[in-house]
């Protein structure tokens, strides 16, 4: 390349870097701050909406409730923001004429009275510990760990094609005495029938 063309290439690169810097200074800072909240929470919001909706497609044994008016309880382990979001969206809503309560649980805390337990995070050792402590009882276990179903979860969230999808283990549901509606299974990304 000639020296002249070389210099032109440098100039073009310069223009590009300047543009990038300009963009960052003028536009990106405020945009990014706003988008940070949006992008980070969208996945959480969609999952929270799913958790609430799962209650409507799951049938718990009568023994899971103290009486006909007892609320449905969602327990959340390891994601206080998710619990806050859930509390916000279930406020004033009911499932099968039962109020919905959200409970934040610490790891190691017994999920007494919980109907749907969401274990946040990808750390499979931790998820395994929490799931183990929760079994066997009529709890709909939901995880978001890569091998959630193998760890004994009933429903496991995963990102497929940039969307929140979920896999279902029918065996785990049976084991926990939960019936899942066929409607839920048709939307599932994958339904696992045999032993995991």
């Amino acid at each position: 390349m000639t020296r002249l063309a070389h210099r032109a290439a440098r100039r073009r690169l310069g223009a590009w870097l300047l543009a990038a810097a300009g963009c960052a200074l003028l536009g990106a800072a405020p945009c990014a701050a706003e988008a940070q909240a949006g992008a980070a929470s969208l996945e959480r919001s969609v999952k929270a909406a799913f958790l609430y909706k799962f209650l409507g497609y799951a049938e718990f044994p009568a023994s899971a409730f103290a009486d006909a008016n007892a609320p449905v309880v969602i327990g959340v382990v390891g994601a206080d923001e998710m619990a806050a979001e859930l509390s916000r969206i279930v406020a004033g809503r009911s499932v099968d004429n039962r109020a919905v309560l959200v409970k934040t649980l610490r790891e190691g805390e017994a999920p007494a009275g919980v109907h749907l337990l969401f274990v946040a995070g990808a750390d499979s050792a931790r998820v395994a510990r929490v799931l183990k402590a929760a079994q066997p009882s009529p709890i709909l276990l939901v995880t978001e760990s890569e091998n959630g179903l193998q760890l004994g979860s009933v429903i496991n969230f995963k990102i497929v094609d940039e969307r929140v999808r979920f896999d279902v283990s029918l065996d785990a549901a049976d084991k926990n005495n939960i019936k899942l509606s066929s409607r839920l299974l048709t939307v599932a990304n994958h339904v696992q029938k045999g032993a995991p």
Binding site: H6, W16, V46, Q150, V164
Partner: protein, 632 residues
């Protein structure tokens, strides 16, 4: 020469649009299960997290990015990596490289498809016109620019491309995909189901591409068609171990400008076993068989059979994370010599064996030192030593500063040693041959130093910058001797530059990415060299600068709009003018399981050239195509 600062105008316009794109939250609880499943949620962070720790210049092309680009072939999909130079020479031939040394016989890049190496030991490069993958089944492509020899071995000099397909359980159900344009037709069908406690998918695909024209307006018979079928099955029911078995079989006819069509074919079978051991240890075993055939009338025919075995173990010992392993590859290369191009011996057994160990040591919180060494043996030069040293410091979870030093080699290939290209017009006094392999040809070597910084200052913004400096020695030259020209190692050189890219999500439904590389590749001859590579078409040809800007926009739940603008600086020798081009894709989700897309390529100009000598080089036209995808 003065160009308007186009990037600036574009960036400014995009920045302004970003503010307008913010939308209030609809109440997600009122969405149906199906609607919730269709909301695009991926943030910049997720794409980057897995590799955010790697102390290397690594870019990840996600499967979704590939689908949204409208690319129907691997080389076109690789244009999405800001750290790769992709130049199309004809309808099926590409010069693809990182950090310079671009040539259609590029030989310093390693390419793997699901762990199977697809580089040809004939010339240490990749026949891009023989590689197909169903685009929808690609999970991601990892593009590492810079040396990767300590893990991947000789030939990973300037980069590694790792094409990874989805697990069978992530490609369940049916998928029918059809595409048609003025120039091209393609179709693929895939079905995934369960099998004996695991999952499988089977697929078949066919592609066809028409002839193009040279710059001088002559029709060039380089159109092609290929068909391929294959499968993948995974058994990973238990958490402790997993087995994967996959295979492909393909055939095709590729047009060539002079002479009848090239006939290609091949098949491969890959088996992989991974097992988690106690104490954070794991074991990975892999074996594959690969057969390829390429019958190029007027040139020669090659049949290649490869058996490859690899074993790798990871261990955690206190502050040390140790990876070690070894591999063996056995290849039978049979060449049916043509009238002019001959290989001596025509049939050759090629063997490579290697052992490696790499230790990652946590010096203190946030500071990691990785030291590795691979010893690789090949039949031409014996044992090659491939060491690397990397230091990474992450002051917090969103920033990483890293540095690396490595030595890599490009081991001799068949053409470097065994080639004999006879003189078509022998006469008294004229050389008996045009080009011959050098009996003393050694490995080309590189010492590479890198310094990188990656940051994610906000969830929606991340960027990366890498400075590199490489010293090359014993580069291949073609020495003109009285009997003819012989390959030798009389070149040397250095390359330096900066690779940068950024991803930014200004709004929930809008993502931007940009990348730019500025580089200076300087090679020269050692004293006494009479190099004739240039006249033999073997010289490399690199731009000083190339950049790209991409936008992915979801317009409501059912429409996607994608734009990709790229600039490639001028190439010096043979001179190719700089060019800008724009690709666009508009997709409509017609039904829950049906998507129709209109794809436009090279929209800015009627036609443009990317590689080769003025006049004879091929030009690529503005092209429109329709793509339909149906999920069953």
């Amino acid at each position: 020469m003065h160009r308007p600062p186009f990037p600036f105008l574009l960036a400014a316009a995009l920045c302004r649009a970003a503010a307008a794109a913010q939308q209030p939250d609809p109440s997600l609880v009122d969405f149906s299960l199906e609607q919730l499943s269709e909301i695009v949620v991926t943030s910049v962070s997720r794409q980057e997290t897995r590799l955010a720790d790697a102390p290397a210049s690594i870019y990840l092309i996600s499967g979704a990015e590939i689908r949204r680009s409208g690319a129907t072939t691997l080389p076109e999909a690789l244009r999405l990596a800001p750290n790769l130079q992709v130049a199309r020479s004809d309808t099926r031939t590409y010069a693809i490289t990182a950090r310079g040394f671009s040539s259609t016989l590029e030989n310093k890049l390693l390419v793997l498809i699901d762990g199977r190496s697809v580089y040809s030991p004939l010339f240490s490069g990749v026949f891009w016109d023989m590689q197909d993958v169903v685009m929808d089944d690609i999970e991601r492509i990892e593009v590492i620019s810079g040396p990767g020899a300590t893990i991947w071995g000789a030939n990973a000099v300037n980069g590694v491309i790792n094409i990874i397909t989805r697990a069978a359980k992530d490609s369940q159900g049916g998928l029918l995909s059809l595409g048609a344009g003025e120039q091209s037709r393609n179709g693929s069908a895939r079905y995934g189901g369960t099998l004996a406690g695991g999952h499988y998918r089977v697929y078949a695909m066919a592609d066809q591409y028409g002839d193009t024209f040279s710059e001088a307006g002559q029709r060039q018979d380089t159109g092609w068609h290929r068909s391929q079928a294959g499968f993948r099955a995974d058994w990973d029911a238990s958490q402790e171990q997993a087995v994967t078995l996959s295979g492909d079989s393909y055939q095709g006819m590729l047009g060539q400008v002079r002479g009848p069509d090239i006939r290609i074919g091949g098949a491969n079978l890959v088996g992989r076993y991974t097992r988690k051991l106690d104490n954070d240890a794991d074991l990975r075993l892999q074996a594959y068989l690969d057969h390829t055939e390429r019958d190029q009338p007027n040139t020669g025919a090659q049949r290649l059979d490869t058996l490859d075995l690899e074993a790798q173990q990871g261990l955690r010992l206190g502050d040390h994370q140790l990876e070690w392993g070894g591999g063996y590859r056995h290849t039978r290369d049979r060449v049916q010599n043509g009238p002019l191009l001959r290989f001596t011996p025509a049939e050759r057994i090629l063997r490579w064996s290697n052992v490696f160990a790499q230790d990652e040591l946590a010096l203190r919180p946030g500071l990691r030192l990785t030291a590795g060494l691979k010893l690789e043996h090949n039949i031409y030069t014996g044992v090659e030593t491939l060491p690397s040293l990397r230091l990474a410091w992450s002051p917090d979870s969103s920033r990483l500063v890293w540095g690396a030093a490595a030595r890599t080699v490009r081991a001799p290939s068949r053409i470097d040693r065994d080639l004999y290209l006879a003189n078509p017009a022998p006469s008294a006094g004229a050389p008996a041959y045009l080009i011959a392999g050098g009996p003393d040809f050694e490995s080309e070597t590189a010492r590479v130093f890198e310094l990188g910084y990656r940051s994610q200052p906000a969830a929606a913004l991340s960027y990366s910058a890498t400075l590199f400096y490489s010293q090359y020695d014993k580069l291949r030259t073609l020495e003109a001797l009285p009997d003819g020209a012989v390959f030798s190692n009389m070149g040397e050189g250095r390359a330096y530059g900066i690779e940068t890219w950024a991803r930014w999500q200004p709004a929930r439904n809008w993502r931007l990415s940009a990348g730019a590389v500025w580089q200076d590749i300087d090679t020269h001859l050692k004293p006494g060299s009479l190099d004739a590579s240039g006249s033999a078409g073997l010289a490399t040809n690199d731009p000083h600068c190339y950049w790209s800007l991409r936008s992915a926009h979801d317009l409501g739940a059912h429409v996607q709009a994608d734009f990709g603008l790229r600039y490639v600086g001028s190439l010096p020798q043979p001179a190719v003018p700089a060019y800008y081009e724009l690709d666009a894709r508009l997709a409509w989700q017609l039904w829950r399981n049906m998507e129709l897309a209109l794809v436009g390529q090279n929209l800015l100009h009627r036609s443009h050239a990317e590689f080769g000598s003025a006049g004879t080089r091929q030009v690529f036209d503005r092209a429109l195509s329709l793509q339909l995808a149906v999920r069953l």
